[in-house]
């Protein structure tokens, strides 16, 4: 039983990280019709920026996450302005131009990997944050890094929710996500809101990268694996649905952890796809997805 609880706790905290990346992917898709295939590399950049900033400044962990989110968010904004903006003018999503966006995404992901390789080399580096002794809860030993993951992720998710529901800027972002022409007629600076939206999506991935850093090593290829799992999470929850992305992330994390614990750790990366296939067979639009897409 303890073994089971341990696995679930590990699965939930990893799932939170998947959920955070999936949330960014879903957020960008729901707002801009961009299926962002370079999101794993944004996550990787966020982690490396965390490592570098920590090395030179020694910031505290929450501040480190914040700085990495801001810097990576700005990089995301630059990427969107330089590359995606030209393509989204012709339409996105499942349109013909949407194909171009997907190809551009893969291209950007390769370019970012190689840039990261040139800067940080192929070596896996640790993100040395010390959290102190693990917490003992009865028979369960809980490393504090897991608590950080759960806590920070919850704060970010609630923060995003409150931002979208309660603030003027959030309202404008939702308006742009639903329909750009109508948003223009409201007097909203649509290009600026698109940057805000994309930047937030990328900042969430950066946070995930810095959160996973102390548990796993930080390396150039860390983005490919998470991209696939985050996509599985987003699709399981219902693509473009924000709470769905988080739920999907948790399910993927727990499935993976239980599978690795009870079946075989060698096939750890496969279990997410069993879940994905099972969900798609029962509910093709995802758990919280609807057939008619209602955005914003």
């Amino acid at each position: 039983m303890e073994y089971f609880t341990d696995l679930v706790i590990v699965g939930l905290s990893l799932g939170m990280v998947y959920g955070l990346v999936a949330l960014g992917i879903s957020f960008i898709y729901s707002g801009l019709d961009i299926v962002h295939f370079a999101h794993g590399e944004i996550y990787m950049l966020g982690a490396f920026i965390g490592v570098t900033v920590l090395k030179y400044t020694g910031l505290s962990y929450p501040l480190l996450i914040l700085v990495s989110m801001v810097l990576t968010g700005l990089i995301g904004v630059a990427i969107e302005r330089l590359f995606y903006r030209r393509l989204t003018r012709q339409g996105g999503g499942i349109s013909f131009a949407g194909m171009g966006i997907i190809i551009a995404g893969f291209g950007i992901s390769m370019v970012l990997q190689n840039i990261a390789f040139l800067i940080w080399s192929a070596r896996a580096v640790p993100l040395p944050v010390s959290f102190g002794m693990p917490i003992e809860l009865g028979n369960i030993t809980l490393p504090k890094s897991y608590l950080w993951i759960v806590g920070i992720t919850l704060i970010l998710m609630l923060g995003l929710h409150q931002f979208l529901r309660r603030t003027r800027l959030g309202l404008a972002v939702r308006a742009v996500a639903y329909n750009k022409d109508i948003a223009y007629l409201m007097g909203i600076n649509v290009p600026l809101m698109i940057s805000v939206l994309f930047g937030i999506g990328c900042a969430l991935a950066a946070a995930a990268g810095v959160l996973i850093g102390p548990i796993n090593y930080v390396e150039v290829l860390m983005g490919t694996g998470i991209l696939i799992k985050a996509f599985a999470a987003a699709v399981v929850g219902g693509f473009g649905n924000l709470p769905g992305a988080v739920l999907g992330g948790l399910l993927v994390g727990v499935t993976e952890s239980l599978g690795a614990g009870y079946l075989s750790g060698n096939y750890k990366d496969i279990y997410a796809f069993f879940l994905l296939i099972a969900v798609l067979m029962v509910r093709p639009s995802g758990i919280l997805g609807v057939n008619i897409r209602v955005k914003a």
Binding site: R168, L171, A172, R174, A175, Y178, N179, D181, I182, A183, Y184, L185, M186, G187, I188, N189, V190, V294, K295, A296
Partner: protein
Amino acid sequence: MLELDKIEAGYGSVQILNGVSLKVARGQIVALLGGNGTGKSTLLKTISGLVKPWRGSVRFDGEPIDGLRPDRIVRRGLVQVTQGKEAYPAMTVEENLRLGGFARNDRAALKRMLERVYEYFPALRERRHQHAAVLSGGQLQMLCIGRGLMSEPKMMLLDEPSAALAPQVVLDIFRIIARICREGMTLLLVEQNVRMALLLAQYAYVIRDGVIHIEGPAESLIDDDNVRLSYLGGTVADRGESLTAHR
């Protein structure tokens, strides 16, 4: 106040507007009439900046606004009121209205305008915290007009406020439009409901095949058979309408 000079515009390589010129003076209600596919919507989008004109000029308040980004045009006081179906369904009535006032940063002014809109449309106040998705067609149209008022524009472009509404509701909405204009609004009213539009407006243009086909003072156009013909394009419905008119 608004002056269009030989506007040509279209989508991709398809030209829709072939040189439209029209004028709206301050405080006036001007009707723009025309059937489906005559270029009415394209003309509105060209004025509000969603479509860039290929040739010609748009002047508002004496300054050229063609080529400006749509949100900049809104900030200058020229607002396009969308059709009712283009309210944000997943947002509440009040959120929709607040969006309409997005161009204004002045909280006190927004609060005052919100009160004024609720006073024009009491039905919206009752449903202020409900999602726009549950409103009736008439209420949606009211919401969009209210949303347009929120930024306190100098002039509004109204896109078919009577579309798909019951006659009684159309009457209610036109009464309020008339009131808003009495209180100092300038209006370009795009309509398919020819009679209602001509009763409200002082001057009217009829657009056909992307050019202004007929223009004149509204009262002189009400009984003009050319307007009906040009508007309906000689369909069966047109003959029916003519029969009742001449009985």
